[in-house]
Amino acid sequence: MANLIKYEFIRKWRGLGIFMAIVLILNAVILVKLQIGTHTPDEQMIALGAFFTGILGVFFILYIIDVTMMYSRDLDHKTGYMFMLTPNSGYKILGSKVITAILEGLLFLLVYLLLLAVNFVGFYGEPLRTLVGSDLFSMIVNQVHLEGVNLISYFTVSLLMLFVSIVGLFLMIYAAISIRKSILAEKKFGGLISFIIFMLLAWADSAITNTLTTDIFSANSMISPGVPSYTFLSIQILIQVVLGAVFFCVSAYLLENKMDM
């Protein structure tokens, strides 16, 4: 499997490199504009904050597109034979794509955090310290009132939830693509069918999650506005892991036994 992952990355590195270079150039342009302009430190912080919020959205969208393409391209194009002819089962081939996607996501996150750190700590250390020590910041932090919750473990569970949700999302996309390419392979409008299947799976996922958390476990979903409870998050993680495993097994089974390349 290590070789499959290796070649997935070799296939991607050029595209990833170009994307990272574009982000670096954009970041440099913004930094130069902020430095040579007559902006106050607060304005500079806000501009950088807006840049990083926008970039986060772009990172996420491109990431999901890339991860989807990594699978669909192999099924739709003959170059997919390169992987499909190798002596690896459908489970291994799909597993390698999932691991590649996770590593790629972590790489995106690492680059993002590094950029964030370099920008704010390297160029705006003093204004950042001033902002963190300001009354406004304290006021915002005080708004988040989590009684009886260990912040570190809550933060860890939230991150884990985010992680399993993203992995669950692309496993759901893979399942939709697999169903379209196998059971519904002889139907017209494949792309549309894939999208409809994805929407149905997303609806089913949401319905199962809601039923389990609210009706069965009666988990109090929110401890304050916009802040889900620890129990709610834990159940959600468990459900996402189980559903992700189901999506993976269905996709790999179809790839191994039902799909024509």
Binding site: N3, K6, Y7, I10, R11, R14, K78, T79, G80, Y81, M82, M84, L85, T86, P87, N88, S89, K92, E186, E256, N257, K258, M259, D260, M261
Partner: protein, 232 residues
Amino acid sequence: MTSVLIAENVSKGFFRNKALHNLDLKIEEGKVYGLLGPNGSGKTTFFKIAAGLFKPTSGRMTVMGYPIGAETKKLTAFMPTDDFLFGWMKIDGILSFYTDMYEDFDRNKALEYLTFMELQENMKVSSLSTGMKARLKLAVTMARKARLYLLDEPLNGIDPISREKIVKMIMGAFRDDCAVIISSHLVSELETILDEVIFLDHGTVVLAGDAEKFRLEKSCSIEALYKEVYHG
């Protein structure tokens, strides 16, 4: 003699068409088979099922006793007609890919074949002509020490001189413990190397047997037999 591939009652349908229809076939080691037939006779479908790219609608196919899957892909070297090699790679990269993915791949042999085929390691796959790509596909396929070689139209789009080279290369790579199945329209070019011929039509075997025996019994070449089978 060991059977390398056995197909039992294999059928494959696409929409309403049946590409293979209850196909029964036994491929034995130590022989070169010619899989012959007009377009749409089911040759490529047969190859793709044997290579694990297509799944049969019904029936069973095995390679060295294993049902088609990851295990048989270790034993089967398939050269499809499709342009499947990564275009962004250099030939050197393709060789590394095969080295990493297939335990039976012999890089030195591949280099030998590349030289014979007048290809250089630093050439980019996307810059190769159709004929050069076909030669590259064949070189990496034959550089594996597989038990079963499936060569789908290896002479397609190849000039007459290169065709000779390809035939030489196939025969050079042939071993007694393997079987080679070659499909082609260019029957005359392959005539001399075929031990057995299988004529397919509409997904079924219409005639199969020892090539030499056919030549003697029918007093004609395999090419003439091909014309007789398909044109009456």
